[in-house]
């Protein structure tokens, strides 16, 4: 899922302070699971903002709403009837949701309430770690199901590099060396011969380097 993290309240206050009517808009998908922008976080943030502005003697209308998804036309339509009641929307969705909402409601200022971080997994309660960089050409079949693009600091395709020490990465002693993990898993799978195969130079054109990407699926288009 997409992992996001809450923005500091000071930054949010700075961005919203000039709007008198604000809709705090959550999303029921990824940001709910990673506890950064779901219904619960919308309630907490809206309350914090109300308290802040009351303390400053400012009267503001701060409403709450959480949509099923902000990256979907269908659900975004649910606020069309009320959008004119607000001077701005503070969206707690990921960057995709914020942009999709902004595109749909062109004349309403959109403010992001979270920092979108990466595609990751819930490692343990309160801790999420990166697993995918959406490079558009998955090689996990060759690397024992461990991604060197997202988990190796240098994104090397034929590792480990000289910075791997005792299974850890040179940039951080708490960070596993992705290539050590790959070797260990290939060994456990009895596929160490795969490790001997030198991977070809990476085609980055399917990654973000080739510009913004589009997936077209004619089989599901209507």
């Amino acid at each position: 899922m997409i992992i996001a993290d809450k923005k500091p309240i000071e930054e949010i206050i700075q961005e919203v302070k000039d709007y008198d009517r604000l809709l705090v808009l959550g999303c029921n998908e990824c940001v709910t699971v990673c506890e950064a922008g779901g219904k619960k976080e919308v309630e907490v943030l809206a309350s914090a903002l109300r308290m802040h502005f009351i303390k400053e003697g400012k009267e503001k209308k701060i409403d709450e709403r959480t949509l099923e998804r902000q990256c979907d036309h269908e659900y975004l339509e649910e606020i069309r009837d009320v959008i004119d009641q607000y001077d701005a929307v503070l969206s707690l969705a990921c960057g995709v949701g914020v942009q999709f909402t902004a595109e749909k409601y062109h004349s309403t200022p959109l403010i992001p309430g979270v920092n979108t971080c990466f595609l990751g997994a819930n490692e343990q309660r309160g801790m999420w770690t990166e697993r995918c960089q959406a490079c558009g050409a998955c090689i996990l079949a060759r690397t024992g199901g461990i991604c060197p693009i997202s988990r190796c600091a240098k994104r090397v395709m034929n590792g480990p590099c000289g910075g791997s020490s005792a299974g850890k990465c040179e940039i951080n002693k708490d960070l596993d060396c992705a290539w050590q993990l790959i070797i260990d898993r290939l060994r456990d799978l009895g596929r160490l011969d795969d490790y001997e195969i030198v991977a070809p130079i990476k085609d980055w054109s399917t990654e973000r380097s080739g510009g913004p990407r589009t997936v077209v699926r004619e089989d599901v288009q209507v």
């Binding site: 085609d203 980055w204 054109s205 990654e207 380097s209 080739g210 510009g211």
Partner: protein
């Protein structure tokens, strides 16, 4: 004559665009450049134009300098991050290069290494700010340098854009001037009306525009550019001239020579001559420069 020296003395600059070789053999590049030594004040050494892998601008610039020729280095944000850019800038300065052009670089998908990753760690604006900082004695991280570079700074300018793109280009030009750019090299020009507003901005701000005069090679090339290259404004009169000429290559040479004279008479700060592989024709084309000297 050295480009920067002449430029700062307000003399009309004659530059030649040089494509470094795709390989290690620099003999032809050097030969062509030496052929116009004295007439050309400097050589703008492309940094992998159109994202085609070639010898780097820095390497080829140093080769030209070894042969007594003045080089204008190009540094591109496409291929290098801020460490590499600064490292090359320091190297260039230490080796005597004193003029640099910052360029964004075309996307790798346009070139011959389609699957390469573009860097774009810094933008042109940020690179220019970084250059200014380096000139003041500190690197982009604010750490003191032992000896600082000093460059005449330039960049590219597209004067034939239309609509909102044109406004954006004018805004960009102003930003670049604020960031320390002294000269702007244009896309190939075949007429000058669309460049006038940019020239006015340049004159107002004490900077110079250096139009590129591109040697057309055939009627087909002129027609292709006229129909397909949005950034070029090709008057039909130019195409007609080539159509009616019996010796089309000779006519193309004549057009290039005339355009160089026009650039001078229109009041630009210099000219950049590009021959795209026909560098052996440079002496004949630049022969016209003799009349422009002084």
């Amino acid at each position: 004559m050295q480009f920067r020296k002449g430029f700062e003395a307000d003399e009309f600059a004659c530059l030649v665009q040089i494509e470094p070789p795709k390989g290690t053999d620099v003999s032809l590049m050097v030969k062509h450049a030496v052929n116009v030594k004295g007439v050309a004040h400097g050589f703008i050494v492309s940094e992998m134009g159109n994202a085609v892998m070639r010898m780097s601008s820095l390497g080829a610039s140093l080769v030209l300098r070894e042969n007594g020729l003045d080089a204008v280095l190009q540094v591109s944000c496409r291929d290098r991050n801020r460490l590499a850019l600064q490292g090359d800038i320091l190297a260039a300065s230490a080796c005597g290069i004193n003029a640099v052009m910052v360029v964004a670089g075309e996307d790798p998908s346009f070139g011959d290494h389609h699957t390469a990753k573009a860097v774009h760690d810094v933008t042109l604006d940020e690179l220019l700010k970084g250059l200014a900082k380096m000139e003041s004695g500190k690197d982009m991280a604010g750490i003191e340098l032992s000896g600082s570079p000093d460059f005449l700074k330039g960049t590219t300018l597209n004067t034939c854009l239309r609509g909102a793109d044109r406004e954006n280009e004018l805004d960009k030009m102003k930003r670049m001037i604020d960031a320390g750019v002294s000269f702007f090299v244009t896309q190939p020009l075949f007429e000058f009306s669309m460049t006038q507003p940019f020239l006015k901005t340049a004159e107002k701000n004490g900077v110079k525009i250096i139009p590129t005069v591109l040697l057309l090679k055939s009627l087909g090339m002129a027609r292709y550019m006229s129909r397909n290259v949005n950034s070029v404004n090709m008057p039909s009169a130019i195409v007609d001239k080539i159509v009616s000429a019996s010796d089309k290559v000779r006519e193309c040479m004549k057009i290039a020579r005339q355009l160089i004279l026009d650039v001078k008479s229109e009041g630009y700060g210099g000219v950049n001559v590009s021959t795209l592989g026909w560098e052996d024709r440079l002496p004949e084309i630049l022969g016209v420069m003799e009349g422009l000297k002084g």
